[in-house]
């Protein structure tokens, strides 16, 4: 262990790791927001609530079905994704022709309903969810102690993000998606079922949020409010990155997580606000966002 500017390497790299983990969640959530916005033209305010639903699904699976983390990480995104598809069919599909803001207001209402219901049954205190046995313990890297579970979260999120990027940017399915984002009418004329694609895209974006929620459950406690404050930070991340580029969302998410972690070490008072301050600066210098194209 060594010291840097009077800060022990354990503290520095520990916070960096927390930053990377937060960054993974920012990346997964802003990726989902960007994909949904691209297809549906709706900013999904209930994204934070759906992240919370993912964590709670994992908790319920363990409590009532005895299914552990590895089952949860597969089942929870599917279950929450299906609820997302139901939400899209019941509510969102009526809004596509209206102003963007109605989608935001409707999903805000849904977030209030989800979070209010869970708060009513589970209060505001968190419920514990333990790290899966296979990932307990950690490695001593010399300059820091690396818990296995945290390493897994960073690696797995990165893999999911890159796979999503690959599917959207490099495969045939992705080219349909991108084409439908540009001009849905024309893509429909080619015989592709665009409304079904829109529904499945929403389900997929929501499933990504739920996946992040399952991964967050052992690190933070499972609580009804876990998504509410996170989603506002993710909005700032989206403003900084711009929603035009998938890779942009991933890079901005991880980058801002790291910056936030470093701020916790060097200037803890600003750790809550640093992302918002960066957003203000980016708006002054590059109003379209780091990876955005100006409209």
């Amino acid at each position: 262990m060594f010291e840097l500017l009077g800060i022990s390497s354990q503290a520095l790299f520990g916070q960096l790791l927390i930053g990377l983990i937060n960054g993974s969640f920012y990346a997964l959530l802003s990726l989902g927001l960007a994909v949904i916005f691209g297809m549906l033209n709706i900013i999904n305010f209930s994204h934070g609530a759906q992240y919370m639903l993912g964590a709670f699904t994992a908790y319920f699976l363990l409590l009532y079905a005895g299914l552990g983390y590895w089952w949860a990480i597969i089942i929870a995104p599917i279950v929450v994704g299906i609820t997302g598809i139901i939400v899209e069919r019941l509510f969102l599909q009526w809004l596509y022709k209206l102003d963007h803001l109605y989608g935001l207001l409707l999903t805000f209402g849904l977030a209030l309903i989800f979070e209010g219901t869970f708060r009513n049954f589970f209060g505001s205190s968190g419920l514990p969810y333990s790290v899966p046995p296979t990932l307990q313990g950690g490695q001593n890297l010399g300059f820091m102690f690396l818990p296995n579970y945290r390493a897994w979260v960073v690696a797995f999120s990165l893999a999911v993000c890159l796979t999503t990027w690959f599917v959207i940017e490099r495969t045939k399915l992705g080219s349909y998606l991108r084409a439908a984002t540009e001009n849905p009418t024309l893509v429909r004329a080619f015989g592709i079922n665009v409304p079904r694609m829109i529904t499945l895209t929403y389900g997929f974006g929501v499933a990504l949020a739920a996946l992040a929620g399952v991964m967050a459950a052992p690190i933070y406690n499972v609580s009804p409010q876990m998504g509410a404050n996170l989603i506002i930070v993710v909005f700032a991340v989206v403003v900084i990155g711009g929603m035009g580029s998938i890779m942009g969302a991933i890079v901005t998410g991880f980058g801002l997580g790291i910056i936030e972690g470093l701020t916790k070490v060097f200037f803890p008072e600003a750790s809550n606000t640093v992302i918002f301050i960066i957003m203000a600066i980016v708006l002054l210098i590059r109003p379209a966002g780091l990876f955005g194209r100006s409209a």
């Binding site: 102003d99 207001l105 805000f108 209030l112 209010g116 009513n120 992302i275 918002f276 708006l283 002054l284």
Partner: protein, 320 residues
């Protein structure tokens, strides 16, 4: 001939529909304290003004601010601090709160109008959240406790606001004054340009209007009126707390305006009274309040986009 005369009469009624509704509203608000609890009415009036300020932006410029609690809450903090710690008289305390809201409005507005549409909502929400964290950390706001026992003082050194009737009349005068001012702004040439921006910003630009300046001025005005509402609320409840700067408050003012009717003159007032009354009955059900609010959001967006006053105006075929 007769038909033309009748048609003329009908247009006359239409033209005066807003004036008639205004007189009716004033009458109701003067009689109301004899039937309802004054503190409840004052709360509703503060929120009505807050919603009117918010509506100035969404209803007439088409900008959705998701951070209006910032101006409301910080104005109430500054007013409470000025009245309690600096010993300002109520009129100066309200003015300082309002000035703070206007200043914050200029900063937030200048940043937020750099992006369009949906990003505007996200930026205002994020900046409001940032100022919420400042309010949590700043020592003068007293964190979770808030600024309590704020003295109401004597208005102009003469009128004792500790008296409930005096306070009610003051709040009513402030509300009506701001309401008329907002009406004047909407119906001025400046207001016409704002509506043009709402309908088609690109065309307004092509006609030579510097739309970003108009948007900024509208934003500052909206923030200022929201500040008046927050400042008045701090004196009414003798309290400034974190609830007023947090994001659920921003959501609530959106809901009030939506329920009443976006872009209608009286909608925000009706919506505020509706929501405050509803919440009064719902205090016993705890967290379900959020669920009820969420349901109202969903129903309004899907089935009831014109809101109470919008539907009423449609039914009577008048402007309200």
């Amino acid at each position: 001939m007769q038909r033309i005369a009748e048609a003329g009469k009908e247009t006359a009624v239409r033209e005066h529909s807003e004036a008639i509704a205004f007189v009716a509203m004033v009458c109701v608000l003067i009689i109301a304290p004899f039937f309802a609890y004054p503190v409840f009415l004052m709360k509703a009036l503060c929120f009505a003004l807050f919603a009117c300020a918010f509506n100035l932006l969404i209803g007439y410029v088409g900008l959705l601010s998701f951070g209006h609690a910032l101006f409301f809450g910080w104005a109430s903090y500054i007013t409470a601090h000025a009245a309690k710690v600096w010993g300002f008289p109520p009129e100066l305390a309200i003015l300082s709160g309002t000035a703070a809201a206007a200043g914050l409005g200029a900063i937030v507005g200048a940043l937020a109008i750099r992006r369009q549409g949906i990003y505007f909502a996200m930026i205002t929400l994020a900046l409001a959240q940032m100022m919420y964290f400042f309010a949590v950390q700043a020592p003068f706001t007293h964190g979770e406790d808030g600024i309590q026992a704020v003295p109401r003082g004597k208005l102009f050194g003469l009128i004792d606001l500790a008296n409930q009737t005096n306070m009610y009349v003051t709040v009513l005068v402030i509300f009506l004054g701001c309401f008329l001012l907002i009406y004047r702004i909407i119906n001025s040439p400046f207001g016409e340009v704002l509506k043009a921006i709402r309908e088609n910003e690109a065309r307004a630009i092509s006609l030579g209007y510097r739309t970003e300046r108009f948007k900024l001025v509208a934003f500052v005005l909206s923030a200022t009126f929201a500040g008046v509402a927050g400042a008045t609320k701090a004196l009414v409840f003798q309290l400034a707390s974190l609830t007023d700067v947090d994001w659920p408050m921003s959501g609530e003012v959106i809901l009030m305006t939506l329920v009443g009717g976006l872009g209608t003159l009286f909608g925000p007032v009706a919506g505020a009274f509706f929501m405050v009354t509803l919440e009064n009955y719902l205090t016993t059900i705890g967290q379900w309040v959020f669920v009820v609010q969420g349901l109202i959001f969903v129903v309004c967006v899907l089935l009831f986009r014109r809101g109470i006053v919008g539907e009423l105006a449609q039914l009577l075929r008048v402007k309200l």
